[in-house]
Amino acid sequence: MARKRKRVMPGFGLTFGCCVLYLGLIVLIPISTIFASSAGMTWENFWATITSRRVMAAYKLSFMASFLAALVNVVFGFIVTWALVRYRFPGRKLIDAMVDLPFALPTAVAGICLATIYARTGWLGGLLEPLGIKVAYNQAGIVIALIFIGLPFVVRTVQPVLEDLGQDVEDAAACLGASRWQTFRRIILPELTPALLAGFALAFARGLGEYGSVIFIAGNIPMKSEIAPLLIITKLEEYNTPGATAIAVVMLAASFIMLFAINTIQRWSSRHMER
């Protein structure tokens, strides 16, 4: 409703032109190449490529690992955000700043570091190995790498919403006799759900495409610990560009769907906030 009353702001033409031009040059034209390249295949070929068992296994692994990692990130990322926003403890600012580290640390370095830590000779791998838990060179390693990669997405999505969340509602709830847990469940969580979902979706989508950090820790055994982006590289090495682009197209489609979900969630979330 508010939209209708809006008067026209200046600069539409300029910014629209700017956006579309830049978007076209940097995003649309490059992305169209991949569709064009896979369009060179027949439909049967395309289908055979993307449904071959090895590719399916890689998709399944990529999806499962990203899903798990995103789930872990939502739970723990939420606790981290909560602690950062609501509590005061020494070093809070520094820790707040460091949450962005996975954005900044090159993924290859992250992969090497994580592999070093979780390998049997590493600090944690050495502790876990006697317990029969093998992390590095296993599916668990992939999840660990993806947790590292996805964490800032959850924290940075939830943080502003939590900061904006007025505590007066909580106070009112407490006044009315709600326990802290009830307040959390009935008042805070519903308010944060869209942000948490958006964070989940972003971390998940990012995890799907992750390559650099995963290959160092995954072991890369076909059917077992081979992720989909690695298969793209494998196909390229076989000089099979259409095959590579076919897998890429499926992953791009997955990205599109994820993004659409994110945007829907966020639209829902902003409507939720206005209410």
Partner: protein, 298 residues
């Protein structure tokens, strides 16, 4: 289920007594043990997944003392990699910033058909696998790509040269600024701008004097994230770089090369520089926030 309901009732009863007198002075919060437990969990989680890798980088880098560390960084190839990374950042970040502001203005202040498609497209590079991102530019600018023959005729090199690395970085860091700005500008609405326009300011003045001060911190934050990502990008750059030593290796690629040459100190020294860079930019942001008089955080 029954037990849970029972527990809720008990908690409810306990809750009725507690908050009455404290809430005016102290904000309604969890009990101390819960607070400590949650903080503990948060720190433990961050410790395992963030600090440990970071710590490892620095420990490995300084393993043989500070002298070897400095020697490792003074390697010619590492130095040229640092220069190239800075160059890439210097081009990609400002361009993305200008675009990000334009996009945010467009999306937050205007209504038009296809807006949601535009928003989705802006976000797209976030979720495109870096490997695919690199592949895109090879398919476009490579010798067998769409523009390849045209470029070859004019003896212009894009992929396997600096421009390709810059463009790939621009692609990957493309959404950061816009993504930071759009939600904020949407929340802020446009009343202030409308008022300024009514008072006779032109569009540019309105933007400079009203909008920009309002979004300043989100912009700085977006720039920082964009810079951090541009510095750290690996997958896409690796595909388009060509790995020519001393010419088309960025810092992240140099780390990989050093690692593959069994030069672990050198590799981790370069990595530590990258992490330090990230930490410094993030701390700078915090310092600006703290000392800036106009900055009021909720």
């Amino acid at each position: 289920m029954v037990q849970q309901a029972y527990g809720e009732i008990k908690l409810e009863q306990a809750g009725t007594i507690r908050p009455t007198h404290r809430q005016a002075a102290v904000r309604n919060t969890e009990s101390a043990p819960v607070r400590w437990a949650l903080t503990g969990i948060a720190l433990l989680f961050l410790g395992l997944f963030l600090f440990l890798p970071l710590l490892l980088v620095f420990i490995e880098a300084f393993r043989n003392g500070i002298a070897t560390y400095i020697a490792a960084l003074r390697n010619d190839e590492t130095f040229s990699a640092i220069c190239l990374t800075l160059l890439v950042v210097a081009v990609a970040v400002p361009i993305n910033a200008v675009f990000g502001i334009a996009a945010a203005w467009l999306i937050a202040k205007h209504d038009f058909r296809g807006k949601s498609i535009l928003t989705t497209l802006i976000d797209l590079p976030f979720t495109v696998s870096p490997v695919i991102a690199g592949l895109l530019f090879i398919l476009l600018f490579g010798a067998n790509g769409w523009l390849g023959p045209w470029l070859a005729e004019r003896d212009l090199k894009v992929v396997f040269a600096v421009p390709g690395i810059v463009i790939a970085t621009m692609f990957v860091t493309f959404p950061f600024v816009a993504r930071e700005l759009v939600p904020l500008m949407q929340v802020q609405g446009d009343e202030e701008e409308q008022a300024a326009l009514l008072l006779g300011a032109n569009g540019w003045q309105t933007f400079r004097r009203i909008t920009l001060p309002n979004i300043k911190w989100a912009l700085v934050y977006g720039l920082i994230l964009c810079t951090a990502r541009a510095v750290g990008e690996f997958g896409a750059v690796s595909v388009v770089s060509g790995h020519i030593r001393g010419q088309t290796n960025t810092m992240t690629l140099q780390v990989e090369i050093l690692f593959n040459e069994y030069n672990f100190v050198g590799a981790f020294a370069a990595a530590s520089l990258l992490s330090a860079f990230a930490l410094v930019t993030l701390l700078v942001k915090n310092i600006i926030e703290r000392f800036s008089p106009e900055f009021v955080k909720k």
